[in-house]
């Protein structure tokens, strides 16, 4: 644990930060200090608490316990604005710009330059923004509404907004996730210049290469706690990866059963410009195939393209032997392909509908009487109890709103919903994110049972132990390309992480 030094050069010092959300403890007593003129990298798996820590520093969340000191003085941020006034600017992963406003307006929102103290000085706003972009070496139009800019440009506008605030501490959460090589180089130059100006940069990224290029200090987090840190020179890649995944790596139970041989899903040369390219793999009956990779590597988009939620540029998808046309989810569902999104809240549950309604939403046509369309409550209840038994879903009553269930129970209801359609191939994105340990085990047991029944599962997950325990085989993606295809024996957390951080090509 790094000692908390109290000398003046400490711009921001957080001590003993705790933060919990219903059902999950996000931060468990975290100490974190940032020194002027240093780039401080923060690494850790998804869900390790990095983003939550930054949102606490940035004033979005208020900590349950612990204190935050800004250059020695204790500080309380009730809103991002107060954090900004205290000199801390945070660039969040999900961009937060007003789409209808232009780049110049977004950057100067809240602190518009004034002429004679009253009028917005649009000219100087445009000039300052153009100079900023020039200085950053970027050619982004200043007076075009942000919604018309490319994703990469929007990311750079977000970065420019933070920089222009003359903040002492600038936090960047996955800044390069949608940038091209050229833009990444520009970011490097900007960060180095900020460092010379004596500012502190907190840099969150999965790409170890970038960390080794830029950072002076590093903090490694896991499961809401700081598990290691200090000057970067004391660490090498393997040490960091081991810290990132270093659970007391007890030999978790690997899949012993054999997957089937019949190919149920064949994807050939799938590509979507700028997101993922040239992805090919086969999925066999009764097999669980993991797809790993760090945020922004294109695995979620790949899953959505296969299911038909978004279109793909080139390549083909064959389901159970026939080609699957890419014209929307209905066709895929009819052809027995199931899909659960990683964003349970906005693309999964129907929050204000009952547990029973959520479970049976996809099989209403089968349950309802032919002509009248009447949905007998008994038939629905029977369908629900059939799944409840196998998955031990705990809820107060079938008519209880789903939003009042715990994360684990909500996920089970969604699984019940998609399995009720009798799908032969199931695509799951982050099925156990924000799920308590007990529910996780039950979900893994369910996946094994499904495999036994011949259902194939494509598991998109960043929970490495889960992938090792549940998958027969694992693909790894880095910046839109398949960089690893590891069989069960070759699978290890370090191996996967090496491929995921783009360090070496993984052997098949």
């Amino acid at each position: 644990m790094t000692r908390t030094t109290t000398d003046e050069s400490l711009l921001v010092a957080a001590h003993g930060i705790r933060k919990s959300f219903p059902g999950v403890l996000a931060l468990d007593g975290v100490d974190f200090a940032v020194r002027a003129g240093r780039v401080h990298a923060v690494v850790g798996e998804n869900g390790a608490g990095k983003s939550t820590l930054m949102k606490v520093l940035g004033g979005v969340y208020q900590p349950d316990a612990g204190t935050v000191r800004v250059s020695g003085k204790p500080a309380q941020f009730r809103s991002p604005h107060e954090a900004i006034l205290a000199g801390i600017s945070v660039i969040y992963q999900e961009l937060d710009l007003a789409p209808h406003l232009t780049a110049a307006e977004n950057i100067h929102l809240g602190r518009e330059p004034r002429r004679y103290g009253v009028w917005t000085d649009r000219a100087s706003m445009a000039r300052a923004t153009a100079a900023l972009f020039e200085d950053m070496g970027m050619r982004i139009p200043v007076d075009v509404p942000v919604e018309q800019l490319a994703l990469a440009d929007r990311q750079m506008v977000e970065i420019a907004k933070a920089i222009s605030r003359q903040s002492q501490v600038i936090v960047m959460d996955e800044p390069t996730s949608s940038l091209t090589e050229h833009e990444v180089a520009v970011l490097y130059r900007i960060i180095r210049r900020l460092r010379e100006q004596g500012r502190a940069i907190v840099y969150i990224s999965h790409r170890l290469k970038e960390i080794f290029d830029l950072a002076d200090e590093i903090t490694v987090m896991r499961d809401g706690r700081v598990v290691g840190g200090g000057p970067l020179c004391d660490f090498d890649r393997k040490a960091i990866v081991r810290l990132m995944v270093g659970r007391d790596v007890q030999e978790n139970t690997r899949r012993t059963d054999q997957a089937g041989t019949e190919v149920v899903l064949r994807v050939q040369g799938l590509g979507l410009p700028g997101v993922f390219a040239d992805v090919s793999f086969d999925l066999h009956a009764g097999e669980t195939l993991g797809v790993c990779g760090l945020a922004g590597c294109g695995r979620e988009e790949l899953a959505r393209a296969v299911f038909g939620l978004c279109s793909y540029g080139c390549g083909s998808v064959d389901l159970l032997g026939q080609p699957l046309p890419a014209d929307g989810p209905q066709a895929a569902i009819r052809r027995k392909l199931g899909f659960l999104s990683e964003d349970r809240r906005s693309e999964g549950i129907f929050a204000q509908m009952s547990v029973r309604a959520n479970a049976t939403i996809m099989i209403l046509r089968r349950l309802a009487w032919r002509l009248v369309g009447w949905l007998p409550a008994a038939a629905e209840q029977a369908e629900l109890t059939r799944h409840t038994a196998s998955m031990q879903i705990r809820y107060a009553g079938p008519n209880q709103d789903v939003r009042l269930l715990s994360g684990g129970n909500q996920q089970k209801v969604l699984l019940a919903r998609v399995l009720a359609t009798g799908c032969r191939v199931l695509i799951l994105c982050e099925p156990t994110r924000g799920v308590d340990i007990g529910a996780k085990a039950e979900i893994y047991a369910l996946l094994r049972e499904l495999n036994r029944q011949g259902v194939a599962v494509l598991l998109i997950s960043s929970d490495l132990p889960e992938v090792l325990e549940v998958c027969h085989r694992t693909l790894v993606m880095y910046q839109g390309r398949l960089t690893g295809n590891l069989s069960r024996d070759a699978m290890s957390e370090e191996g996967i992480m090496q491929c995921a951080t783009g360090l070496m090509g993984g052997a098949a």
Binding site: L309, P329, S341, G373, A396
Partner: protein, 339 residues
């Protein structure tokens, strides 16, 4: 609360769940208060006439409840009501001898569905926000109503037509029975029919609905068609009561209908609502209106009272929602801690 064992037990306890039914509580309180002030208010004949009056806005409010649960508004139902009642009065003499009374009502309902589909097509096809599309169609339907009637009021008092709204079964006005029937139908459609589930699903989250294989555009067309049907039925019954149709009818009708739905507790953000509560809110507003004449309330003050009640009731939903969430979450935590 203890867990009722049988499915029926669970359903009854849900129905009587006092928090959901605060509109009924308000209705009972208002009725008792006014009856105390003027005993004649509680006379059976008066109660029946109140129930009859509540049907006209109530029936249209059922369709609007489905639309608001779906997450949209339909501002064109006032003008559509005028157009459909004028159309039904002009077509009646030719159609009724051929298809009979029931057939006639079905045809008018289908015409309503047709106009509803037009609204739905604008929203789903051209992706115009429902608010703008229906505001535009309001002007078009109003113009069409005046065109069809040449600006003049249409008159029709053939016996079969009048029996629609003025008949009564064992004393109870047929209109109210139709209203109760449609409320039950609406509730069953919402809770016990695939379309109702799809409407709630899209209202909760269009993205999740699409991922669950629900066709959002087809559901949009269905919802707006339903709004058209319920508006058509309300239009025919009003024409029957008033023995004719007026192209200028139904100005601000859509605003009162939306107020009734929100008074019933359906939230404007969509996703959750109850047809029965809307029906109770319709009866509550009719009772309030009737109580004004029983209590000889100054006509101008009446508008102030109705406005005040609406604003108070709308804030009530928000406050009640907060309290309910907090209590249910606390209950949930206690359950998880004990398990």
């Amino acid at each position: 609360m203890n867990e009722p064992r049988t499915a029926f037990g669970r359903r009854v306890s849900a129905a009587l769940d006092w928090r959901e039914r605060s509109v009924f509580a308000a209705l009972a309180l208002l009725f008792l208060a006014v009856s105390a002030a003027n005993p004649r208010f509680a006379a059976l004949s008066n109660v029946l006439s109140i129930l009859g009056d509540s049907a006209y806005i109530g029936i249209a409010a059922i369709g609007m409840t489905l639309c608001i649960i779906f997450g949209a508004f339909d501002l064109s139902i006032g003008a559509l009501l005028a157009l459909l009642s004028v159309a039904s009065v002009t077509w009646a003499p030719h159609l009724q001898p051929v298809v009979g009374t029931a057939g006639f009502v079905i045809i008018v309902a289908l015409a309503g569905a047709g106009c509803g589909l037009l609204n739905g097509a604008l929203v789903a096809g051209l992706r115009i926000p429902a608010f703008i599309a229906t505001l535009g169609m309001m002007y078009v339907y109003r113009g069409a109503a005046f065109m069809l009637s040449g600006g003049q009021d249409q008159r029709l008092d053939s016996a079969w037509f009048l029996s629609l709204a003025n008949g009564d079964l064992a004393g109870v006005p047929v209109v109210f029975l139709v209203f109760v029937g449609l409320t039950v139908l609406g509730t069953l459609l919402l809770n016990r029919h695939p379309l109702g589930r799809r409407i709630q699903a899209v209202g909760n989250s269009p993205k999740a609905a699409r991922a669950a294989g629900i066709s959002v555009s087809r559901t949009t067309l269905a919802v707006f068609a339903l709004v058209g049907v319920f508006t058509a039925i309300a239009g025919v019954l009003q024409a029957s009561l008033l023995r004719g149709a007026q192209p200028g009818r139904g100005v601000e009708f859509e605003l009162y209908v939306i107020a009734t739905v929100v008074l019933g507790g359906t939230s404007l953000d969509g996703g959750k609502g109850s047809v029965i509560n809307t029906a109770a809110a319709a009866v509550l507003l009719a009772t309030l209106q009737c109580s004004f004449s029983f209590l000889a309330v100054n006509p101008y003050v009446q508008k102030i009272i109705v406005g005040g009640v609406l604003v108070a009731a709308f804030s009530m939903n928000y406050l009640r929602g907060q309290v309910e969430d907090w209590r249910k979450r606390r209950q949930q935590q206690r359950k998880e801690a004990s398990v």
